[in-house]
Each structure stands twice: as C-alpha cells, then as structure tokens.
Amino acid sequence: MAQPLLTADGIEVRRGMNVVLKDVTLHLHSGEVLALTGENGAGKSTLLETCARLLPLEQGRILHADVVVADHEGRRRATPLVLGLALQKNGMMGSEYVVEHLETAMAMSGRRVDPLPFLAALSLKHRAEDLVAHLSQGQARKVAVLAALLPAFAAKEPGLILLDEPAAGMDDASVSVLCEWIAQLRILGHGVMIGTHDQRMSNCATTHIDVSTFETTAATPNEPSSDPVAEAQPVKATSPASFGWKMQLRTLAWLNHNAVASLLTLGVLLSFGDLLDGLEDLQRYGFLLAPAFAAGLCGEAMVQASREERANAWWRAVADANPHSGILPLILGCLLTLLSTLSFSVAVEARIVVVGGLLTFVTWHIIRLLQESTDRLARPRAVFVGLLTPILILPYALLLDLLTR
C-alpha cells in the first residue's frame, strides 16, 4: 500500500491534568475518509488538533507523508502536504471578508479555484463580499468548512483535510452538499479525517474509529453523484505578515493599541515645557525616542485579534505562524520619531528617525513573542504580560548611550 498521508505513531497527549490519548497509532491513506466517533471528552478534537500539530506530544510523533512534522521532543516542521482545517471554532477573524478568507486558505496550497460556485451551492454567494462578523453562526460555519475543503479542490497532489464537527449548526441541504464534496475529494485521492456525532457525516466515511476504544470498523461510503468541476490556477501564498498588515490597515487596531499610548507619552513630555535645550545628548535622545519606545511596548494588536474564533490556531496549522504586523511598526516608529522631533522643534536627524523606527519594530515584536507565549493557556487574557516589559528598559538605556558616542 502507498505510504499514508497521515501517521500518528504511538502518540500520547495531555489536556489539563488528563491524559486524553495514550499510545495511539493510526494511519490515513490517500482516498480514505476516517470518521472519529465517541462521546464528548473521548478525544476526537484532541486527536484532530494533534494531527494538525497544534498540541504538543508527551510521547510519539506525527508524520505527514513521510515527514516527521511533530514529535515529543518539541521538534516541529512545516507540513509538506496541502492541509485543510476546520476546528470546532471557525478559525476566522470577524474583520475578514468571506471570499478573502477562502482565497487566503487556497493560497496556502499555491493554487486557487473560483470560490463563487461553491458559495452558491451553500446559498452564500450573495454574502461573498460581506465581513465574516456579519454572518450568522450557521453561515460562518459553512464558510469555515469550505475554507478547509477548497485548498484540496485546488491542489494537484493529494492533501490532508481535518474537520471537527463540520455539520454543527448547518442546515440539511448544506450537509448534503458537504457530503457530496467529501465524496468527490475522496475520489480525487485526498485523505479526510472527520470528528463527528452526526450520522450523515459518518456515512461519508470508509472507516469508523471509536476514539474511546480505538475500535475500527470498515464502512461503505456514499459515492459522489458528479465529478468535481474546478479549474485551478497557481497563486502566491499569503504570509502571516501580509495578512496582519492588511488587517491592521483595515481595522486601524494599531491606532488604539499603539499610537494612542505613544501620543500620550509625547503629550506628557511636551507639557514639561521648553527644556530640551538644557539637556545633555543622552537625555535629549531619551525624550525624542520615548514615544517610539512607548508604541513598541504596547505590543501587537494582532495577537489579541487572532484569538477570535481561534484564528491563531488555524494560522499556526496551515502557515506555521500567527498573523503579525510585519514592518508596520518600523514605519510607525519612524513617523512617531519624526513627529516627536518636529514637536520639540529640534533639527530632524535622519539616523534618529531610523533608530526610532527600529526601536519600535524590535520592541513590538519582542512583546509580541511574549504575548504569543501565553497562547496555550486556558485564559491567556488573565495573564499580565505587561509586567515583563520593564526588562526592555536597560537595553533602551544602552541604545541611547550608543547614540551619544
């Protein structure tokens, strides 16, 4: 038999204090559809998320094709396969447009098909240009599941599709369409793993696995009533940085999250009056660069934004990184330093403006990494990452020192 698309090899996974999966081995081959069944808490979602490399392994390893993509020693590699993922949460940010999210998902596979006929089949074509935030729960669920399937329809090679309760909240007609598409993807050679309580989803499967006992039962799946019709074209992948940049510009989150604190800092410093002339170089640069530093210390707004509907988990699975603002902090820092220089009526020094940009950029992304470190926690917003920011004061002081040499 050809090598499997997915192998879970002796995996053990914990959630909270419980061992949810212990010594689990399974394979998913091309053209197979595995339906994971079992009661709530049995481990369906845990298994799916582990196969998507979202959960750390206590033991064992996960392979996509013949590549070890995750192991119990914390090693992690990008998947070599086209990966479609729909978790129980939709994995989309409210500020994305419907068709934009679908294009982003397909772009990860390097190829795209026209999403409009697919949206039409789910009675969502009229919503293609709407924001995800404006959709009902059921509509959003359809878009999320479609985003998991379209990369496979566009792909040239067999890929991996992981679906967690895809039919939840969907109307009967849409579930029928979903079953038809899964059957088509199976014929195309893709591997599908579905965690489900829904009998109609189970009927799509070639194999049923009860996650409580890991008892396997072969099944005869539905056959598709038509061939998939979709012409694919090559397309460039969307990077987490370009996505984050786009979201920042659309929502202006940077204004609330970073610019306000920076401008307040500048305002407070200006209120001390005309004292820059009496200061030494070190102190003067400290005043000029303080707004840029303050903007960086506020960190990355995209971290919070991407926690909506677990969009960050979706990005980590398909693109290996959370969305972030890329070079936005560099530009913002330069502008804030320029503003600061002009506000203090001091001669504009190009190197100080550039240093301000770099200062914001480095500080911003360091704070972003600290913020992202709390992603695994049950209540990440309850943790005071801000308490760690004073760590950056000494490097800031040293930077100012460097400038005065």
Binding site: P56, R376, L394
Partner: protein, 233 residues
C-alpha cells in the same frame, strides 16, 4: 510530619530574623560618618543582605523546579517551581525595597542602573510577580505548567544579560555611590549579626519552600478528590 518540620523551621527562622533585627538596632556597632553618608540607614544591611541571600535560594529553587518540570515532567519539581516563585516574590520584594530605601538614604537616589545586583533582583522579582499572578489566574494543567516553567527557566538568561548590560552602563556612567557602601570592611560584631541573619533567613526560606510545596500537594489532592466527587454525585 513534613508539615511539622516545615512549621518548625518557619518558627525557628522567624525567631532568628526577629533576633537579628533586634541586634541590628540595639547591639551592632555603628559605622563611621566618613564611610557612610547615612550610618543609621546602613543598618538596613542586616536585612537587605540576608533577604538577598534568601531570594537567591528561592530563585534557585524556581530555576531547578522549572527545569525539572520541563525536562522530567516531575510533580515534585513543579511544586518546587511554585514554591520558589512565591518565595522569590516575597524575598525579592524585600531585597529590592530595602535596597531602594538604603539607596535613597545613602546615594540620594533609590535606583542605580550600574548596580548589577539591584537590577538583577529587580528583574527576577518582576518575573516572580508575573509567575505567581499568572499561575493563580489559570487552571492547573500541562499548558499552564509548560508556559510558566519555560518563563521560570529562561528568565534566568536575564542574570548574565543584566550583568553585561550593567557592566557596560557602569563603564560609561559610574554609579552614584558616595561612601564605601556595603563593600567596606566588616568587623567581627557586624559579621556575627550578619551571619545570624543569613542563617535565620536560610532556615526561614527553606521552611517556607517546604510548606508551600506541601500546600501545592494538598491543592492537587483536593482537585483529585473533587473530580472523584463529581463522578460519585
């Protein structure tokens, strides 16, 4: 039994600390005005230095416990992490605060960016605040433990980094030390009080760490019993 030992150590340590402070106020020799700007404030030394020593033990426990959890998944090491973080927070705050008070009296400023120890303790205390507050806001589980143990382990990179940073800073900006500070020679009586303080704080902090570890194990036992009760009801 363990609880009795830890409570005994706590009581013994506390008695020693109280005695040290009494001796520091009433018996320890005064220092000269030539050596110190504020001879009265110099007596904070009998609290500041032993507190720093106890904080060193606590942060060491935090580091070892964090490594033990991350690399060995040891329950005992996790309890050491939590005890070390709490003890580190308390003793770190004592060290930093007493350092600021002494600095304000002796140097004219509460903070000295050239002082490696003050900066290192300040940053480690901030780390301890983060760990203690963070952990109390989360349910117990591997996710919580991995996240905070990683901070506890890698936070120690702060120590050499702070050393390098403050060395560079002090080369360019000699610190505001006016007198000979606490680097002056220590006479016999002063050394005796200091030794008593160091021993007392050591006994006290070990008692505290043992007690905190016991408390964590009780919390875990309670959690397991509650889970059993959930199934029984």
């Amino acid at each position: 039994m363990k609880q009795r030992v830890s409570e005994g150590l706590l009581f013994l340590g506390f008695t020693g600390i109280a005695s040290t402070l009494l001796l520091a106020l009433l018996w320890a020799p005064s220092v000269s005005l030539e050596a110190f700007e504020s001879p009265a404030a110099q007596r904070i030394f009998y609290w500041h230095v032993p507190a720093a020593w106890a904080a060193f033990i606590a942060f060491g426990a935090l580091f070892i416990g964090s490594a033990g959890w991350l690399f060995k998944r040891s329950e005992v090491m996790w309890r050491l992490h939590t005890a070390g973080a709490e003890a580190g927070l308390a003793t770190g705050l004592m060290t930093v605060w007493s350092g600021c008070v002494w600095g304000a009296a002796e140097w004219g400023t509460p903070w000295d960016w050239t002082d490696v120890r003050l900066n290192t303790f300040g940053l480690l205390t901030l780390l301890a605040v983060y760990l203690v507050l963070g952990r109390s806001s989360q349910p117990d589980g591997v996710e919580t433990r991995d996240t905070f143990a990683a901070f506890g382990l890698y936070g120690f990179v702060l120590v050499p980094l702070t050393y390098v940073a403050t060395r560079i800073w002090s080369i360019r900006h000699p610190g505001p030390v006016v007198g000979t500070g606490d680097e002056g020679s220590i006479n016999g009586d002063m050394g005796l009080v200091l030794l008593l303080g160091a021993l007392s704080f050591t006994v006290f902090i070990i008692g505290h760490i043992m007690n905190s570890m016991h408390v964590t194990s009780l919390e875990q036992r309670l959690e397991r019993l509650q889970a059993t009760m959930d199934k029984v009801i």
